[in-house]
Structure formats: C-alpha cells, structure tokens
C-alpha cells in the first residue's frame, strides 16, 4: 500500500477495534461510509486517526470540541444566521473529527477540479464572447439567455490574460460508486476559504499531535498562491496592483469571512460607497483623499455591483464600475457576469463541452440532471417529480430546491405547473444518497451525510487546488445532504500526504513595492468613522458606568442613612446622572424618587437595551461600530470585547439581584473597558486609524466632564454639601488620590478645578483631553492647504487657549444668584467647540457625500398621429 502516513506507524492494519464509546451506535447504514467499509472494517486511511481518538476517549474529544468553540467564539468566528450584526450570530461549530481523504483519492479529485475550472473558464469566455457553444448546439440558447446570471451589459469584454475565472469552488460528495461527485459550482465569489483556514488553525491547536509529523497536507500553500495570483494580475499599473476586498457589509451572512480574508491578505475591506469612479478609474475614499484601486476582490453578487448598468436599486454597488472594468482600468475577480456559470442546467451539457474543448471526458461526475427546456427530459421530470429534486437554474436569494420525495401530491402538482409555465428555468436531478462520515455527536461517534467544498484559484495561467477544504456535515441523521449554508457541523479536511511535507510559514515575503503600499495604510473614510465612534462609545460606556457606580455606592452608605445632607447629595448625583446621560425623565422629576423607584430606574439603566443610553444599548452601539471595522482588531482585542458582551448578557439575564451587587458588575465592566482601550494603546500603530479612535475618545471624555461639572459645580451650595459633591466628583473621575496628594484634606472648588479642569498632566482632566485632541488632529492626513491649521484644529485651539487663560480665583467667585456663572460660560464655550469639532470631522473626513439616486427619465408624450 502506498500510504506511508502516520496511520501505519501506529496501527495494526487488520484488527482495529473500536472502543465502546465509538462502536456503540455507529452503524453506517446503507450509504457508503467514509470510515467504515462494507465488511465492517475501518478503511486504511482512517485507522491511525480512529485509533488515536479511541485512546483519547470521549471526554477528551468533548473537551477538544469545547476548546474549539471557545477559540472560535473568542476569535469572533461567526456566521450571521439572519445577517444581524449583533442579534443572530451563530458561533462556528467544529467537529473534532476531520474528513480524511487518502492521497490516491485526492490525486483524482484534484485532477478533476482543475479540469472543471479550465472548462468553466472556457465556457465563461465563450458565453461573453462568440457564443460558439450555443451556435454549435453544445448549449441550448434558452439555458443561457434565460439565466439571470447572464448579464448582457458584460457582453464582449474580456480579461486581458484570458483567465476569466480567478476563484472557483465546487461542492463535492461521494456518490454510491465511491467516486466524488459534483454537487454545485461557485463562480461568483466562492465563500468558505476563510472558514477553512480558521478550521485548520483551530485543529492544530486542539489536536497538535496529528500535525507534527507533516503527514497532513498544509493549506498554507494555497494562500500563498492566492495572494501571488492576485498580486500578479495584469493590471494597467506596472507595479503591484492596489487591491481591495468589496463586501456587502456587516449584514451579509459572510461578513466575518470577508473581514477575515481582508485582514489575512492585508487588503482594505471596503463597501460600495467607499469606492468612487472618476474618469473611468476606481478610487478608494480615504482620509488622504481618493486613492487609486486596480483590483477588486468582490464578495458581492455581480448583479449588485453597478447601479448604473446592473440592478438599479442596488445601494451596495459602485456607479460606473462596469465602465471602469470595460476600459480595463480595474480588474474585478471574479469578473462581473461570472454568475452565469452557477447554473445546474449546465450539468447535462458539460460532458459534450468537455469533449469539444478538451478532447476528453469529464473527470468528476454529477448526479443525473435533466434540463426541462428539452421536451423529452421535461416529460421525464414531470412524470418522476415525486422521486427527484427540482432546482431553478438561477439561484435567486432565498430560493430552495424542491425534494419530490418529501412533497405532497398537491405540492408536486404545483411544481409541475411551474415547470410547464417556464420549463427552461428548471432542472430535475436524481436524488442520490451520498456518503456518510463519522461525526462526534453528544459524546458518541455517529455517521452523518457530509459534503466538502473545495477551492481553486489561478496563478500564472494555471489553476491550483487547496489541499484541504471546508467539510460540512448534516446535523441530523435523516438529512441526506448538508445545506449549502454554513448552518451545520463544520469539519477540517485532511488530505493525507504520501511523504512528509515541510513546514512553510504562512508569511509571505513582500516586495518593496508592496511594503510601500502597506505603509501608506489606506484608511477608508468609513473605517475612520467607525473607529472614531468606537472611541466615543467606549468612553461613553465607561463614563456611564462610573457615574452609575458612584450613585449606587452613595446610596449604599447605610451609616449616612439618617444624614439629610447626604440624602441631598444622593439626589443631586442622581439628577446629574440623568442630565449627563440624557436618559430622561430619569431622576429629573418634581418630587425625588422613592428608593424603590430609584432602584427600578437603575435596573433599567443596567439592563434595558432598548433604552437609548442604557449600558446594554451603549454596548450594542460599541460592538456595532467595532464590528464594522472587524478587520482592524487583534484577536486579543476581540476577545476582550466578546468577554464584555457575554458578561453583560449574564448581568441582564439576572435583573432581580440587589442593586448594590451591581457595583461589582460595574467594576468588572470598567476594568474590561480599560483593557480594551489599553490594548489599543499598546498595540495599534499611531496611524490615522488610531488617531480617529483616540480623537473620539478624547472628545467624548471632554464632553462628559463638562456636563458633569455643569450639573454639579455651577450652582452654589452649602459648604458641607459642596465638600461632599467635590469629593464624589473627584472619585468618579479617578482623581481623588491625586487631589489628596497635592492638597491633603484641603478640598475646595478651586483645588478641584485645578485637578479636573486645567491640569494638562492628569489624564482625567479636561485640559489633558484638549491637548491630546490637538495632537491627534495635527497628525491627521489632510490636503495641504495654505493655512497652517485645519478648521477642527482651530476649534480645539480656541478651546485650549480659553482654558489656559483662565484665572481660577475669578471663576470660582460666585455671583449673587446664578452660582458660578463664569465657570458655566467657560464650560459652555469649550463644549460648543468640542461639538463643532465632531461635526467638522464628520463633514471633512467621514461624509460619503450623498448617496446615489437614479435619474429616471419621466415618460415622454408621444403625438398620436
């Protein structure tokens, strides 16, 4: 036997017994089983693995699976079930049992995949070129012309290198004959590459022992090829092309993968309105202005890519993109129009096309498929509808296959009518029982129907296959095939190597040109905006938590319960909580809230996520902003955010605890937020992205401080109450210790303002925020103007100057009736400058101008002759 894999070094080939925990219940059933042969033996290429996991035992496997789940969750690997960025993400579920393919088997599969990619490439070129296949009768015209993926606007323009298809994926499953069959082709923007990589990464962490001797093919080679292929695309630019990844956005079910891939390959992740077409070229809107783009990796269905020439109602695309591509100024992979290949109606014609183009038979078979546009085939499908599968030739969003065997008589009749009305839009397909593979389910090993997605990419005119893939198993036993969505059990795919493979680092050696590009760090305006808001929300959340904690702590001081002044302090703090967080009416009622009512209000701030400004509400906003720039956070950062989210979900689910216990929850929240901001501080380069994050944070902290002071310090109070307020304010802003060190127990408005207002060395002081903001803004990229300062810099400069010129003794002198009027004026002045700064940033850096609209010509009147 050819295998020299790890299997034989460990296994006695003839008698591999299963441990009770696996053998029990593992009855492979009537289908072909990947692991078990028909004689009740473990197939040779599974023996090593099965023996090893038998030795490990069920509990260890369970632990591995949990470990995998934990890593996935912490890394934020998710799949948006309903495309809601915070509601319905499903954490990736990885089976610790991989899908194992022997090297002989793989050689055939690989061959077949390359042949299929070559064939698809030729078909694509022909359908948007001379259409010989149709004219020579190899493809029926209606099959192509009636397919919605056939985009007439893309007719007659070709990629300069003759490689129409860059990335391609095929779902395979093993048929009853033991060969791998093709289930489906993906020719638009094949999904799953990122998940496959993530699966492998996690497998090497939870089961490192299997990867040590190099008998499992590494998938890293594929990613090198993928990147090399993209970098060497024949664009107009002589140097390395500038590449972006175009995503439909965070509501896409595959957003995680788009972000992951962009970040892994090092290309900016952009949405349609981050790009603009000018003079027939594509540009990325960045903080530095428009930056040229030569290659777009589109993760967007081609019909939505250009509202001018394709789907007019699409807000996801880029107006004029098709024109830019037509002029050869941008390369789009895969090219627009490649969706025409995602057509199950092609299946019955592929063998003929293969002989026509390649002079040989198709290497990978498919299930028998009948296109209903042909009379004989149609009759056959109509007669046998109760035992076959009906698929539309074009997969519209939400369309599903019809399983005749599971349908009622009436449903079959309705389907027949649909086919009769539009026969060319349907195919019938034989329902095949594909193979099962062992899956670890609830502590046992059970067979489940499994399919693998395989990936092909092109480089230097040739196609290359990933030696691995993304395997998916049906969750339930009766299900004949996993759905094409990722909502099922995922498996790593191991291709066994005949000889040990040397380790190759995933790190690619960039060229100098490439390095130059990376350094310029194109920051899309949208990303800038979301970083800015991440900074603001994180700070607002921390501010809210701090005030709230202080209020609860004061309410908790039972020794003061009889003290009227202290009661007044509590009311003042509660009112200030409401006015600073703007959660009206809150505590701003005519009569003070009873302690019962106060607890209810506090619980609401802690747990009502639908209330603007509440902690879960702010947490939602923070996560959404951070998620929009998913590609920019490190694993650690994401883990911290994830921890906060999970922790708070627990807090919310237990709303009846004593409110004083909330102090601990708030402590934890404040610490985690500090960790999040601290990680950014320590690990983000001081590039525009960081400047945006920090500016957001500084503006928010400044505004927060001003509002606190406005509500607590401006009115004049009795000495004792004033003293308590100052102490509490300093404590809330982490500055009590500083104050004590500096002034001992001498506590006055003037000394407090010295610490919290004008001290440029205190990170909690207003002056410090302004100084930092000034520095951040000064380093931001902007078009070189004659004036030295930008509008936003001028605003901050005004605020800083006003603050520096302040005379503390004079502003701490109360006026007769209005309290500290001069202090109020100063605070209002700085507040207005900070708000204007935010608006200016928004206008100058973030505004994506106006959204596109269709100019629809109204109908012309026609003279009736």
């Amino acid at each position: 036997m050819e295998h020299t894999c790890f299997v034989e070094t460990q296994a006695n080939q003839d008698h591999v017994a299963l441990n009770p925990f696996t053998a029990e219940g593992y009855s492979a059933g009537s289908s072909y089983d990947e692991m078990w042969d028909q004689n009740g033996r473990i197939r040779p290429h599974w023996q090593g693995f099965m023996q090893a996991i038998n030795k490990l035992g069920g509990p260890a496997l369970s632990k591995s699976r949990q470990e995998a789940r934990r890593i996935f969750r912490e890394n934020g690997v998710s799949y948006n079930v309903y495309g809601d960025p915070h509601g319905h993400q499903r954490t990736w579920d990885l089976d610790p049992i991989p899908f194992i393919i022997s090297s002989e088997d793989w050689a055939e599969i690989e061959d077949g995949l390359i042949q299929r990619a070559e064939l698809m490439n030729l078909i694509l070129a022909d359908l948007y070129g001379q259409q010989k296949l149709i004219q020579q009768g190899l493809l029926p015209a209606e099959l192509v012309l009636g397919h919605e993926g056939y985009l007439r606007a893309c007719d007659q323009f070709r990629q300069p290198n003759g490689m129409e298809l860059h990335d391609f994926a095929v779902d395979l499953a093993r048929g009853p004959d033991g060969r791998m069959w093709v289930l489906r082709d993906y020719a638009q923007s094949p999904a799953g590459i990122g998940y496959a990589l993530e699966n492998r990464t996690v497998m090497t962490r939870i089961m490192p022992q299997f990867f040590q001797d190099g008998h499992i093919h590494r998938i890293s080679f594929f990613f090198r090829t993928l990147r090399a292929g993209l970098n060497s695309l024949p664009t107009r630019r002589t140097e390395q092309p500038r590449i972006v990844v175009l995503t439909p956005g965070p509501y896409s079910e595959l957003y995680f993968e788009h972000a992951y891939l962009a970040s892994y390959l090092g290309y900016p992740l952009v949405q349609g309105d981050d790009l603009a077409v000018r003079e027939g070229h594509v540009w990325l809107k960045t903080l530095d202005g428009l930056q040229p783009v030569e290659v777009i990796i589109r993760r967007l269905n081609d019909r939505f890519c250009d509202p001018l020439e394709l789907a007019e109602d699409s807000l996801l695309g880029v107006a004029g993109l098709l024109q830019a591509a037509r002029m050869g100024n941008v390369m789009i992979v895969n090219p627009l129009g490649s969706g025409v290949l995602e057509n199950p109606g092609l299946i019955p014609f592929l063998p003929g096309i293969s002989r026509y183009y390649l002079g040989c038979d198709l290497k990978l078979p498919s299930a028998a498929t009948w296109w209903c546009g042909q009379p004989t085939e149609r009759e056959f499908v109509l007669e046998n509808i109760h035992k076959i599968i009906i698929k539309p030739i074009y997969r519209a969003y939400g369309s599903t296959s019809f399983f005749g065997a599971m349908a009622s008589r009436d449903e079959c009749e309705t389907m027949r009518q649909k086919i009769r009305a539009h026969p060319h839009l349907y195919v019938g397909q034989e329902q095949v029982s594909f193979s099962t593979a062992p899956c670890f389910i609830k502590g046992r090993i059970e067979p489940r129907h499994t399919a693998i997605r395989t990936f092909v990419t092109s480089h230097e005119g040739r196609f290359h296959v990933m030696k691995g893939g993304l395997s998916r198993a049906a969750r339930d036993r009766g299900v004949s095939a996993p759905s094409r969505h990722f909502d099922n059990i995922s498996k790593d795919t191991w291709i066994l190597a005949t000889r040990p493979e040397r380790h190759v680092s995933l790190w690619l050696q960039p060229t100098t040109q490439e390095m130059a590009i990376e350094r310029s760090g194109m920051l899309a305006s949208r990303a800038a905006e979301n970083l800015y808001w991440t900074g603001r929300y994180a700070e607002r959340l921390e501010g809210t938590a701090r005030i709230l904690r202080n209020v609860i702590m004061q309410m908790n001081r039972v020794e003061e319960s009889g003290n009227e002044v202290h009661q007044e302090l509590i009311h003042l703090l509660q009112k200030s909580l409401t006015s600073v967080t703007e959660m009206y009416p809150g505590f701003l009622t005519d009569t003070p809230l009873t302690s019962q009512e106060a607890s209810t209000e506090i619980r609401s701030i802690m747990s009502d996520e639908n209330r603007m400004g509440s902690i879960p509400n702010l947490l939602g906003s923070l996560t959404t902003s951070a998620y929009m720039v998913r590609d920019r956070w490190s694993m650690d950062n994401w883990r911290v955010l994830d921890g906060i989210k999970n922790h708070w979900r627990n807090v919310q689910s237990n709303p009846h605890g004593h409110i004083f216990s909330a102090i601990y929850e708030l402590d934890e929240l404040i610490t985690s937020l500090a960790a999040f901001m601290g990680l950014n501080m320590e690990s983000m380069t001081r590039e525009p992205g960081w400047l945006m994050l920090d500016s957001g944070r500084r503006i928010e902290r400044g505004l927060w401080l001003i509002r606190m002071m406005k509500s607590l310090l401006v009115p004049q109070r009795d000495d004792l109450l004033q003293h308590m307020i100052l102490e509490s304010l300093l404590a809330t802003h982490e500055s009590l210790i500083t104050h004590r060190r500096r002034y001992r127990s001498y506590l006055q408005l003037q000394t407090t303002l010295d610490v919290l207002l004008i001290d440029e060395t205190n990170p909690r002081a207003l002056a410090y925020q302004l100084e930092r903001l000034q520095r951040d803004l000064g380093r931001m990229p902007r078009p070189r103007l004659a004036t030295k300062f930008s509008a936003e810099e001028k605003l901050v400069l005004e605020a800083t100057t006003q603050l520096r010129l302040v005379d503390l003794p004079s502003i701490t002198k109360p006026s007769a009736e209005n309290g500290y009027q001069k202090l109020l004026e100063l605070l209002l002045f700085i507040e207005s400058r900070l708000m204007s700064t935010s608006e200016t940033l928004n206008h100058f850096y973030f505004s994506h101008a106006q959204g596109p609209r269709q100019l629809i010509p109204t109908r012309r009147k026609t003279e009736n002759l």
Partner: protein
C-alpha cells in the same frame, strides 16, 4: 428621406449635484434601413469622460460622467439621417404553427437572435393574460405576420392612448387591465402577445416625423421619441409594426436601436450624487431636409 433630428434633454436640480454617471441611447444605428450621416452628442457641462461603444444588441451607447458640481445638465443629440425607402409591404408566409421547425432551418446566428427575443424580459414578463389576449388573433390567422398585424389592429382599436395614465413604472399587467397607455406600453403589449406564442419580437426605440395640422406651421419641439416593435418571421426576417398608429413603419420612421424592451435602451439614464429634486424637460425635433 433626409432628416435632422435634435433630441434635447435638460435636467435642472434643486441642489448642487456633485457627480453623475450616465448612459445614453440617443444615436441612431447604422443598419436598419437607414444611414446616419452625422451624429453629435453634446453634454453641458463638459463631461470628464465620454466613451462610445456598441452594446450587446448592436446599439450605439454612450457613457459619460460629470464630476464637478453642477445645477443643470443638458444633453443634446443631433443626427443627420437618411432613411431609405422601406419595404413595408413585404409578405411572409411563415406559419406560427410550424415556427419551431422553420426556425431550425435558419443559420445558428439567426436562431440565437430569435431566441433572445422570444424569452421573458425585465419589463415583459410571461403573463397568462397576454396569452389570453393574443389567443383570438392566433386562432384566426395561421401566418405569423397576419396574426401580428391582427394584434396590432386590435390594440389600436381597443386601447386608449392616454399619456396621463402611465408612468415608467406602470407594469404591463395594469396596462392590460385598464386598456390604456402610450407607445411604449403598446409596443410592450404586442411583443408580450407574440412571445406568449413563442414568436420572437423586439422593442424599437426611435422617432417619427409628425405633420402639423393643415395650414399651420410646425412647432419646434413638438415631435417626440417613439416606440414600436419588430416581429421575426423565418421566411422574411424582421418585420416592423407600429401598434400606436396601426401601420407598418415606412421611411418616416427613424430607428435609434432595439432591445428586448424599453429597459435595454432608455434614451438617457443615470445615477446622480446630490442634486436634491430634479426637473426634466425633453424636446425633440424631426426636421425633414431638402424635401
């Protein structure tokens, strides 16, 4: 006949428009029994890019973009066209009953084109009502052309020309229900009827010279763009029909181009950034030269 056609479209925006991308189908084809001796497309303000190409259907298509703030946009297409004497009495004997077999005898290129125009298209879905409406015409006439002319005559007699009724968004279903519409609707309707019996038909966009009432001078800008259709017969090829006027087009008809329906070649369409609300004015002059 020699004509000079001036087709002027003016947009006025309430706000400054920053950028717009446009497609224009305003330039007459060279084939189709006419010669376009001169064509000039003027865009004000000056576009940053103006690019001409031939589209999937062989029509002349212009892309242009204006990339500086503007409050008005004027697109003027001026064409000098010589329409050659058109045979609008050509006869076809092809029967719709044997259409499939007859088509199979045609060269592959013709078959492909014929099939392109017999399937559903974005604005002409396959509707039961269309087939139902077409039924009597096909029942009474074996010949494709005869049936098509019957449909043309029936639309002309049974439908009311009513510019107030339809907008661009009026679906064919509503036109059928209310029996009202304008030239685009009637062309779409006739095409839909023919396609429901598997007969290829295409939408033609163009102009028709109008005559002033006797004794009056012709008003500038009184003409308009027009739409009609063309039906495919295996023996005589494509034959044009104008259901709005119940006649077979002669050399007073000027063709811009054709497609599956209006959506394949709207005279002007665009995507605009900014601009607020807009006002549009269109004027068309079809002026006969050296009559």
């Amino acid at each position: 006949m020699n004509y000079r056609v001036i087709h002027r479209t003016e947009y006025e925006y309430s706000d400054s428009a920053n950028v717009c991308h446009n497609l224009a189908h305003l330039s007459p084809r060279q084939d189709a029994g006419q010669r376009c001796n001169s064509h000039f497309l003027s865009v004000v303000p000056q576009p940053s890019l103006l690019d001409e190409r031939i589209d999937h259907f062989g029509n002349r298509t212009f892309y242009f973009s204006i990339e500086k703030p503007h409050r008005t946009m004027v697109v003027t297409a001026t064409s000098l066209i010589d329409t050659q004497a058109r045979n609008n009495t050509a006869h076809s004997a092809s029967s719709w009953k044997t259409f499939g077999a007859e088509l199979d005898g045609r060269p592959p290129r013709d078959q492909l084109i014929a099939k392109e125009f017999s399937l559903e298209s974005p604005l002409i879905p396959r509707l039961e009502q269309l087939r139902h409406y077409a039924e009597p015409s096909f029942a009474n006439h074996d010949g494709i052309l005869a049936a098509a002319m019957d449909i043309m005559r029936r639309i002309f007699n049974e439908y009311t020309y009513d510019p107030a009724f339809t907008t661009l968004a009026t679906p064919l279903r509503d036109v059928l229900e209310h029996k009202r519409g304008v030239c685009q609707d009637f062309a779409h309707l006739a095409i839909g009827c023919l396609r429901s019996f598997g007969i290829p038909a295409r939408y033609i966009s163009g102009y028709l010279e109008t005559q002033p009432p006797p004794g009056q001078a012709k008003l500038v800008g009184a003409d308009a763009s027009h739409a009609w259709l063309s039906v495919y017969t295996p023996d005589a090829g494509w034959i044009e029909l104008d259901p709005t006027n119940n006649q077979r087009p002669d050399n007073r008809y000027i063709v811009i181009g054709w497609g599956r329906d209006y959506s394949d070649l709207p005279p002007l369409k665009g995507v605009i950034f900014g601009g607020g609300t807009h006002n549009m004015k269109v004027s068309v002059d079809v002026e006969p030269l050296n009559r």
